[in-house]
Symmetry: C2
Subunit: 598 residues, 2 copies
């Protein structure tokens, strides 16, 4: 059997043939999507990465060709030669981009055969995730997956060309790095040459990109793999990809401006969506107050309102007690949805907000008929109820949800989560709406109960805002950072900061974080040394490429934009890795496996 | 001290200012390269990644500015505002691209200070390698290193844009892979979630890229990091970068053609060198016969000649005995270099060829005065000597070197190495000459004395040449592969092959390699399964990016084109990695370090 491609190489892509190609002699290469025998005329749909085209074999014209085609099964690999002809009016298939034509076949070669696949290669069939991942190479044949791979390629091409135009150099930083005990868990790589010593895979190129700024590179970018050995949540991968960049001699506005240009281009070229610049910016405090989130979704309303001033003296202890304890009472108004929430539903929402540490959920329903029911109104004066309704802009048909808590952040976070959950349930979100914004003025520190000290919210090299430098030691909780996140539809696309470039400020920062000089030296020694030899002002940003592609593709899981993803337990089903290795390999590394429970 | 860049941001790059900028008000940002006080006028050379510009401070004009500049030391980071003015005729510095102008300073800000650097930031100073790598961020400030980083960026941009235009998709393959006991040693990554199991870092994306072809991707490329835990030779790094690609529905000529287009563009855009296409191709056997190497350097002659037919019956047993044993007698003619090789030098060359396993080196010198001296001529007839001279095209002033060996490959390899060594010593190589060629028709197998079987010269998925399929089992030594290497000036830039896409041929290949079905399944199971579901004809190629950049930059070490390289013992001097890790980290991985000898 001749399985060579010689003499039968592609002259046209399946999915690109149109009526204008009428009369053209072509060769197409691809996979048999399916065949249909129509009594002496056989239709064979051939698929390549561009789409599907119909090839026809007429037994009465050429019985030999017909017989070969008759023996072809799904997923056989074929080279087909023929003439493009317009279909009869009746035979036009408007659902197929190539539906106006077909190829009248003059030659066919079977390049390789296929056993019956474990699932059908089609976007119309739901396939179990485990099976999809075990046979990922088959899953990737589906048109939607081909599109996802192509989209990801386009996004990275746009990124590289845009940043190149802006004077950025792509520079590769090491994958075998020094392990630092900060942040998430490192993946370790034992060294054979240095027994007992280990490399770590990078969690991000943070330190190297700052060193590149100290090297005078001025503008660095890299699309690079990063690794975190975390307990995997649904949307996390042990290895993921960042678009990483850093710039010298800049302030926050400069980093933001160059990235807005990038985002505008990506949205235009990938989705043909025009993004208006400059993007809105929102202070972290305002985002939390209004949306209960540092990544607010602006595609819908339901903003959080503060009613502490109204509720502080009411006789409902849940409200007044919260305010008295230094806390707050907040609400959201879910307009026009009063009739969507019978008591049972509201009870479930109680459970929902409790997962966000709220103690409960109060509510007030304004039925269409003017009647009001509420879990708390009876404890309030008529004036207080009126004032709340007015604050909420409540009309008939609305339902208000209220959370009171002695901790401001708990109250707004719970309502913020509820806000998003209800918007999703009520279907008020337009999936083709893209709301980008910057969240700025993040707190420099957050208090770690576990470590009983302030820790850096971003990392210890993030510069504090100039206005807050004076209170770095006296009132750390109030210090804001030159940090910024870029948010799309409630998801964090990326984030970054201006870094500290003054050794004095860096020393103050380490003290504020409770590091001794020895601590700082042990953790960041080479970086601190480097800073002694002339550090330019600098800052940068990193995008999560997987998530960016997922959102651009309108998908729910980053797995669908990664060619060979891992599953929740960090294993890859296709190759069955990780796996056991030879004792010889372990011996060479001077390693022994201890107490493995099966 | 105000160390903010605010209000003092770059409006011009140091190295780009020219006479045409005369009169322009600019702000430049960078590092102080050096200062020179000329009695009341201070010259400060400011450096950024584009070059150096002279800034002048006149005490009589502005004593405050002068005093600040006077306090500036080498490597301080500065923002300088001023007016570009043409220098006096006498003051023009033709060695500097900016030497026709200077900046008359109206403002200066010290953004950060610098301690005295461990070495001077200059291309004119030789610095100890260890010191360079320990303070790599300072080493990278040198103009030559900045150029190397920029060149590498350009090469990768060209690659990505070229292959994008050619319909290739860049697709990321996993870094955390399954360990396979083939080839070089894997770097292992212990899994915390699966105690006792390990990932491996990729030695190349070979299997994944073939799986992508089975996925219908059609044209894949990736610039990606690869890892080999080998004992490092001078020019190897534990992590290195490949430009990796694979194509479906193609033959060798197609892969070669698309890559010739790439190489032509790289040489044009990076070096402004025109490469004529198609590139020459040389069969592996011819390359070995003529150049004693599968990566022949074509920038000079000294080709190897076969004189076995002349020497086979001579009375010099070294020659005739070699032929009798099935071997060969070969020579190279080093034209016009007879007087460069006194007896002592020739003795040293004896040692040189012995490192290539040759038993000795015979020679014949034709002095300028017509006198001939030789180590072997006395054993030969006059006719035999004449025939040899004629075969070698020997003229007065030439020197011939002869190696006889019972093993053909030993003889040509030793002479091939000698050929290159002497060309280098005699300075006959033009460093600005670029001789590219393809070496094709590699042997499919090489015999492994160690394993006492034939092993794949490339890898077990490389397709044999169609003409040799029949002798796969009967005469494996003669089977040639559809494999090709691209060679530049005696260095391998890359290599690849057409892969087997027929399950029958693959099964025969495994048998020829002595694998049982179980062996094959255990080693390559998921790939073999994948091949059952319709495999297109496919093939590809991978370039060593580090080496490509090194050669394009005219350098001798790949370290100089890697931002943060490792040294011979696989450690990085700057961060001192690999390093010991916390016991807690090892415990989480269920690992213990065994018997470490200090």
């Amino acid at each position: 059997m001749n399985t060579s491609i010689h003499g039968m190489k592609r002259t046209a892509w399946c999915g690109e043939l149109r009526a204008a190609d009428d009369g053209r002699e072509v060769i197409v290469n691809g996979w048999c999507d399916r065949t249909r025998d129509n009594g002496g005329v056989l239709f064979l749909l051939l698929r390549d990465r561009t789409g599907i085209v119909q090839c026809t074999f007429d037994k009465s014209v050429n019985a030999d060709l017909f017989d070969i085609a008759f023996g072809v099964r799904t997923e056989y690999v074929l080279a087909i030669k023929g003439k493009v002809v317009r279909r009869d009016e009746r035979a036009v298939n408007k659902k197929m981009p190539t539906g106006e034509i077909e190829i009248v076949v003059t030659d066919i070669r079977v390049l390789s055969k296929s056993e019956t696949t474990p699932f059908e290669i089609s976007d119309d069939k739901e396939v179990n995730d485990q099976l999809r991942l075990k046979y990922r190479y088959l899953d990737l044949r589906r048109p939607s997956m081909q599109n996802n791979l192509a989209l990801r390629h386009r996004v990275t091409q746009i990124a590289r060309n845009y940043f190149d135009e802006q004077g950025f150099l792509e520079i590769e930083t090491p994958m075998l790095q020094k392990s630092t005990p900060e942040g998430a868990r490192d993946y370790l790589v034992p060294s054979r040459v240095h027994p007992g010593k280990f490399y770590a895979l990078p969690q991000s190129p943070q330190q190297y990109k700052q060193l590149l700024m100290l090297s005078g590179v001025d503008r660095y970018m890299q699309i690079t793999r990063c690794f975190r050995d975390e307990d995997l949540r649904a949307d996390r991968q042990p290895e993921f990809t960042q678009i990483d960049l850093e710039m010298s001699f800049v302030e926050q506005d400069d980093v933001i401006a160059v990235n807005e240009g990038f985002l505008q281009r990506v949205f235009k070229e990938v989705l043909d969506v025009d993004i208006q610049l400059p993007l809105p910016r929102m202070k972290w405090k305002d985002a939390m107050d209004k949306y209960g989130s540092d990544k607010p979704d602006l595609r819908f309303g339901y903003e959080i309102q503060d009613i502490s001033d109204i509720a502080k003296d009411c006789s409902f202890k849940v409200f007044s007690g919260a305010v008295e304890a230094g806390g707050t009472v907040r609400l959201i108004n879910i307009n026009g949805a009063a009739d969507k929430f019978p008591r049972k539903e509201i009870d479930k929402l109680q459970d929902f907000v409790k997962t966000y540490r709220a103690k409960g959920l109060a509510w007030m329903k304004l039925a269409g008929d003017g009647k009001m029911t509420s879990s708390f109104a009876k404890f309030l004066s008529e004036d207080e109820v009126e004032a709340i309704k007015q604050r909420a802009g409540a009309k008939d048909g609305d339902i208000l949800f209220v959370v009171a808590d002695s901790d401001w952040q708990t109250a707004v976070t719970a309502l913020g989560a509820l806000r998003c959950e209800l918007a999703k349930r009520l279907g008020v979100i337009d999936p083709h709406d893209y709301k980008l914004l910057w969240v700025v003025e993040f707190p420099q520190f957050e208090y770690s109960e576990e470590e009983n000290r302030y820790v850096a919210m971003h990392h210890p090299f993030t510069a504090p805002m100039d206005e807050d430098l004076d209170i770095l030691e006296s009132d750390p909780a109030k210090v804001r950072a030159k940090a910024y996140d870029i948010i799309l539809n409630g998801c964090e696309l990326g984030g970054g900061s201006i870094r500290i470039h003054s050794t004095e400020t860096q020393a103050r920062m380490f003290r504020a974080l409770g590091f001794t000089d020895e601590d700082a030296e042990a953790r960041f020694g080479h970086l601190l040394t480097a800073f002694k030899y002339g550090a330019p002002p600098h800052g940068g940003l990193a995008y999560g490429l997987d998530r960016l592609c997922m959102l651009l593709a309108g998908l729910d899981s980053i797995r669908d934009v990664i060619a060979f993803p891992k599953v929740q337990n960090a294993s890859e089903l296709m190759t069955a890795c990780p796996s056991e290795v030879d004792q010889k390999q372990l011996d060479e590394l001077h390693l022994a496996v201890t107490e493995v429970e099966k």
